[in-house]
């Protein structure tokens, strides 16, 4: 299909436009509202997300799943893949806003900025999921990164938060600089920024000897530094524990789910559309390189999580490990692998956000983020403890919870391609992860604390908790009725 021109593209771009419009509306509303206790800006943001969701569904009905629509002269593309990620990101943002409403960390005076930035970062992530041009890839990545830096350092009075922002920005600057260098090299080799043309261009210069395999390899490695930084894969994961620990908890949850999902969207599109084509795979075997990265990422994440005492930091390492699992699906560069990643991301969205929500609640009520603070939670707040146990066991991958099915699909896809060793490492890692997840459960159920007062939560809290807990139990069954690899493809 011919790429649409600028004006023609606007209709298909409405979800993104709505987000920006509502971000501006939030800023203006914040200026006009004098009452600092008012939560109106949060509700405006939620309405904005709702409008955007409607727009996504409408645009989705306009596309045929097998024929993507290139927009803005091929800068971005609207296809099932983008729609899937947009909905996922939207849900994660909505959850983050709901968390933020409950969070007591945030300064009431800065709400307007906070929610405007959240909408802006979602806008950037939408673009990450749909970019098909090197320039657009970089700009969308930068939009997300820059906003994330600010959000991570949002608690300006907290040294921990400022440190988080500083580390984030330092690592981020190096990573995006390296990535930009790699992109420029690829552009210099292919002579085009368009992902769909790059593969054939690179293949032809490779064949004619104009470019050596080594050069392409190094260029892609540079680009991987930028993407790997976003999905916190080894060896670009170092920022993540400190940032996750220092950032406000809702933002930590957001970064661990949405930022990672958007990173994967970019990663998958980059490789499936740009460099996963057979003509390039002949000379460079990405699968093997990515498999090693994947194995390292999950192992490092899980091993580092073992000694952690701070639940936020523990979940940070755990989310690195989950990035490793997700990478297993990316290794394959097959539709089955892609389908497995989609499914795992949905499961991960619910279980990880749920776990972080409990962390927000405990931080508010008990005032601590350490495992010790979870002692005796089973008696103090049985429902919350029960939900937390569900999330943690699901993160481990214990049947019959959703996490199990997610891993099942991933391992199945990996074994199907004959990468038995990778599946084995994944399995070993799941066993290791049981140790540290179970430690929190042990603290909640088998240890007692001096403080035995029951913690009270509002009905809204329980409702939101069940929104995460119930899918974490049942969503695994979705896989039986719905196979993503048939529905959403990347080309």
């Amino acid at each position: 299909m011919e790429p649409l021109k600028n004006i023609e593209s606007l209709a298909y771009f409405s979800p993104e436009i709505l987000l920006v419009v509502f971000a501006a509306a939030v800023i203006i509303a914040d200026l006009l509202i004098k009452n600092r206790e008012s939560e109106l800006v949060a509700y405006i943001s939620l309405v904005g997300l709702g409008c955007s969701l409607v727009a996504i569904l409408i645009t989705n009905s306009l596309i045929n799943s097998n024929e993507p629509i290139p927009l803005f002269f091929g800068m971005i593309r609207l296809d099932g893949f983008a729609v899937f990620f947009k909905i996922l990101l939207l849900l994660a943002t909505a959850a983050t806003i709901l968390f933020s409403l409950r969070s007591e960390e945030l300064d009431a005076r800065l709400k307007g900025e906070y929610y405007a930035l959240l909408l802006a970062v979602t806008f950037g992530m939408f673009l990450m999921a749909s970019s098909t041009n090197l320039l657009m890839i970089f700009i969308s990545l930068e939009t997300v990164s820059l906003t994330s830096y600010i959000l991570a350092g949002f608690l300006t009075h907290s040294p921990r938060s400022s440190e988080a922002a500083f580390k984030y920005i330092t690592y981020g600057a190096v990573a995006s600089g390296t990535m930009l260098f790699g992109l420029s090299m690829i552009f210099g080799m292919a002579g085009t920024g368009d992902l769909s043309q790059i593969s054939s261009q690179i293949a032809s210069v490779l064949a004619s000897g104009g470019v050596s395999t080594l050069s392409v390899l190094i260029a892609i490695t540079f680009i991987l530094a930028g993407i790997g930084y976003k999905i916190a894969s080894v060896p670009f994961h170092m920022w993540s524990p400190d940032v996750y620990e220092g950032a406000p908890i809702p933002i930590t949850a957001f970064l661990s789910v949405a930022s990672k999902a958007a990173g994967f969207a970019l990663f998958l599109r980059f490789f499936h559309v740009g460099f996963g084509k057979p003509e390039i795979l002949q000379s460079i075997d990405w699968g093997f390189i990515l498999a090693i990265v994947s194995a390292l990422t999950m192992t490092v994440g899980n091993l580092a999580a073992l000694p952690q005492r701070n639940v936020k930091r523990l979940l940070a390492y755990s989310s690195i490990a989950h990035g490793g699992y997700l990478l297993m699906g990316a290794v394959l560069l097959t539709p089955e692998g892609l389908g497995a990643i989609f499914f795992y991301l949905i499961v991960y969205l619910f279980m990880n956000l749920g776990a972080f929500y409990v962390v927000v609640l405990i931080a508010n009520e008990a005032g601590t983020e350490m495992i010790d603070g979870y002692r005796g939670l089973a008696t103090r707040a049985p429902l919350v403890a029960g939900a937390m146990a569900i999330f943690l066991f699901s993160l481990t991958g214990i049947p019959p919870l959703a996490g199990f099915f997610g891993k099942w699909v991933l391992f199945y896809a990996v074994i199907g391609e004959g990468l038995y060793w990778l599946a084995f490492i994944g399995l070993l890692n799941s066993v290791v992860s049981l140790y540290y997840y179970a430690r929190i459960v042990k603290a909640m159920y088998f240890e007692t604390s001096e403080d035995t007062n029951g913690l009270s939560f509002s009905t809204g809290t329980f409702a939101l908790l069940s929104v995460f807990a119930i899918p974490t139990i049942f969503i695994g069954l979705l896989n039986i009725f719905y196979t993503f690899s048939d529905k959403i493809t990347l080309q």
Partner: protein
Amino acid sequence: MEFTLKTFIFYGFALMTIASALAVVTVRNIVHAAFALMVTLFGVAGLYVFLQADFLAATQVIVYVGGILVLILFGVMMTSGRLEMRIHIERGQLLLGGGISLALLMLLLTVIANTPIWKNLTDDGTQLAPTTERIGQLILNEKFLLPFEVVSVLLLVALIGAALISRKEVRD
């Protein structure tokens, strides 16, 4: 290679850029380093002219030399304002950093050496043609409108963030 006035000026700019870039990282006085950076950025603008990118060259000077670097100097003066402000580098860090930089240089040289299409680029003798109009058309009317608009969102976010971080603690 034909040695003309043009190549002579080109090597002048190249030398200026590289020498001052070296000075940026080796000089111990931070203001001197910032000043050397100015020469580097100016040299890069000169190199853009040789790439027939006149608009880019002028923009480089306006944005980097005239804007960003002045802000850097401003920041340096606000925070130190004294001649004694010096950067100390441990020997171990120096060796490590130098080693990594050297390795990276070797790597990139290998890439260049292994990419024949880059080496075969020659000056085809075309005259300097104005690029401003074409760039304006591309950014505001054609292919690059979306990136341009997204960058404006990015800058808005950066503006909000800067105001947020630099804002004084509000007491009430």
